[in-house]
Symmetry: none
Subunit: 265 residues, 2 copies
C-alpha cells in the first residue's frame, strides 16, 4: 500500500536546519517541496496546487491564528500540519479546531513528520480513485474524458477545459443535485467566495453549447437555492406536454423520476 504518489508540499518555516533535513527526505521520497520563510498569500498557495502544507506558527507573527484559519477555510482540501515549538493543550486544540489536520511538536524526527504529512494527504487521495475510462453516454451526448471533449453524433461541442470538467462532474453524478459550493470546490480547487457566479456562468455556456448541438434534449436542471442536476431528458413538444404526460414518451432510463418537478429549464 506504500505507493504514495508524489506529494506536493509547501513548508513555511525559517528553521533552516529542520527544513534542510526535511527537504532531503522529501526529495528522496520523490515529493515536490517548496519552502518559504514567512506567510504566503493563500492565493499563491492555491496556485501551487498543493497536497499538504507544513507550517511553523512562530514564523507567522501576530496573526498566526488568523492566517491558519484563513488558509484552512480557503483550501478545505489542503492537508495542514502545524509543526511548532512548545505549545499548550489549549493552543493545539485551537489549531486543530481552526482546521489544522495535525500538530507536531518540535523538535521532531523528520521521518515522523513525513509519515504524518503522508497520513494527512492519504485521506485526500483515497477519496478520488476515479480511474474511469470508458466514454459516458447520456441522451444524444457522448462524453469522452480521453479527449476532454463531448460529442453529439460525432460533432464536437467545442468545450473548453473548465466547461468540460463541469460537464463531466455533473454527468458523473447523474441524477444527483450538486451544490454550487461543492462544484466550485472540486473544479476550482478551493472554497467558493460568497457571491461568486462563476459556476452559473459556466453552466450557461455549457447549456448554450449543448443546445446548439443537441436541441430537443434537456440536460442540466436548476434546483433553486441549491445547485444543478444532470439528467438527459428528451423535450416533448409543448403541445404534447399537457396530454402526453401520462401516455407516450417517458422512455427514460432514470429510476423513479418525477413528473411534476418544477425545476426550471
Amino acid at each position: 500500500m506504500n505507493s504514495p504518489q508524489a506529494i506536493r508540499l509547501a513548508v513555511i518555516d525559517d528553521d533552516s536546519g529542520f527544513v534542510t533535513v526535511l527537504n532531503k527526505r522529501t526529495e528522496a521520497a520523490g515529493w515536490q517541496q517548496r519552502t518559504f520563510a514567512g506567510a504566503i498569500p493563500p492565493e499563491e498557495l492555491i496556485a501551487m496546487k498543493l497536497n499538504a502544507l507544513l507550517v511553523d506558527l512562530s514564523v507567522l507573527g501576530d496573526d498566526a491564528w488568523g492566517y491558519l484559519e484563513q488558509v484552512c477555510g480557503m483550501l478545505p482540501d489542503l492537508g495542514v500540519i502545524v509543526c511548532t515549538g512548545r505549545s499548550t493543550v489549549a493552543q493545539r486544540v485551537r489549531g486543530l479546531r481552526l482546521g489544522a489536520d495535525d500538530w507536531i511538536t518540535k523538535p521532531c524526527h523528520p521521518e515522523e513528520a513525513l509519515a504524518r504529512i503522508e497520513a494527512v494527504s492519504r485521506r485526500r487521495r483515497r477519496a478520488r480513485p476515479r480511474i474511469e475510462a470508458g466514454p459516458v453516454v447520456a441522451g444524444e451526448l457522448e462524453i469522452r474524458s480521453d479527449r476532454f471533449e463531448a460529442f453529439v453524433s460525432g460533432a464536437s461541442l467545442g468545450l473548453t477545459r473548465r466547461e468540460f470538467e463541469l460537464l463531466q462532474m455533473l454527468a458523473d453524478a447523474r441524477g444527483k443535485v450538486l451544490e454550487r459550493e461543492a462544484i466550485y470546490q472540486r473544479i476550482w480547487g478551493y472554497a467558493m467566495a460568497h457571491g461568486d457566479r462563476s459556476v452559473d456562468v459556466f453552466i450557461r455556456k455549457l447549456r448554450q453549447k449543448l443546445e446548439k448541438r443537441s436541441a430537443g434534449w434537456h440536460y442540466i436542471h436548476t434546483h433553486f437555492g441549491v445547485g444543478y442536476r444532470f439528467e438527459p431528458e428528451p423535450l416533448a413538444g409543448v403541445a404534447v406536454e399537457q396530454a402526453a404526460r401520462v401516455g407516450p414518451g417517458d422512455a427514460r432510463p432514470a429510476p423513479s423520476p418525477a413528473s411534476s418537478e418544477l425545476v426550471a429549464s
Copy 2:
C-alpha cells in the same frame, strides 16, 4: 462551532480512568461513544457505522500491528487514531504508514484527543461525502436527500430548500418532538429571535404540500407550547377517528421526552 456534527466513535482501551473522562467529554459534545476493552472484529466495526476509532495498541496484544493494518484496510473511510503509551519514532511511523490517521501519546489531555478525533473526522467527511443515506421512506413519502426533494409515488412535492431541510430534520427525528428553538437553531444557523414565526410558517407550507400529494396521511403533529413531531399516520375514516385518536397519536402533550432528546448545538 462550525459543524459540530455528531461523531460516532468507538474506543478500544482498558484504561478505565481515561475512558471515563473521555466519555464524559464526548457525551457533552453530543457524540456517540462505544467502548471496548479488547480487539473487535472489523466486521463489527463496520456494522457500527463509525466515523472514528480511538485505539490503544497495548490492549491489542501480539498482533496489534496486524489488527491495525486489517482495520485500516477494511474500513478505508474510518478515521483511526492510535492513543497509546510511550512509543518510539519508528513505531509511530509504522502505525501511520499502516493507515492510522493520527497517533497520540498517553498521557494526553482528553480535550486534545477530542480535537484530534474531530480533525480526522472532518477530513474524512469532506473527502467522502458520497456515501449518503438512501432515501428515507415514511408513510407514502419518500425523502431523497440526493435530490433535496420529497416524492409521493414518484411525484415531487416541489419543496424549496428550507422546506426540505425542515422536513428532513423532522423526519430524521421521527417520533421525537423538536422544539422550535432547536429547529430554528439548526436550520437557520443562529438563535431564534423572540416572537419569530418562521418555523410555524414553514410547517404550514410543508403541510400544504404534503396534503396536496398525500392526503389521507398525517405527518406533522403539533405539540402545543413545545414544537412539532414527525410521525406518518394514515387517517382512518372519520368514524374511527375518535377511538383511534387516543391510541397511537396525540395521546399526551408529552412534556418529558422533548427537551432531553434534542440534538443540542
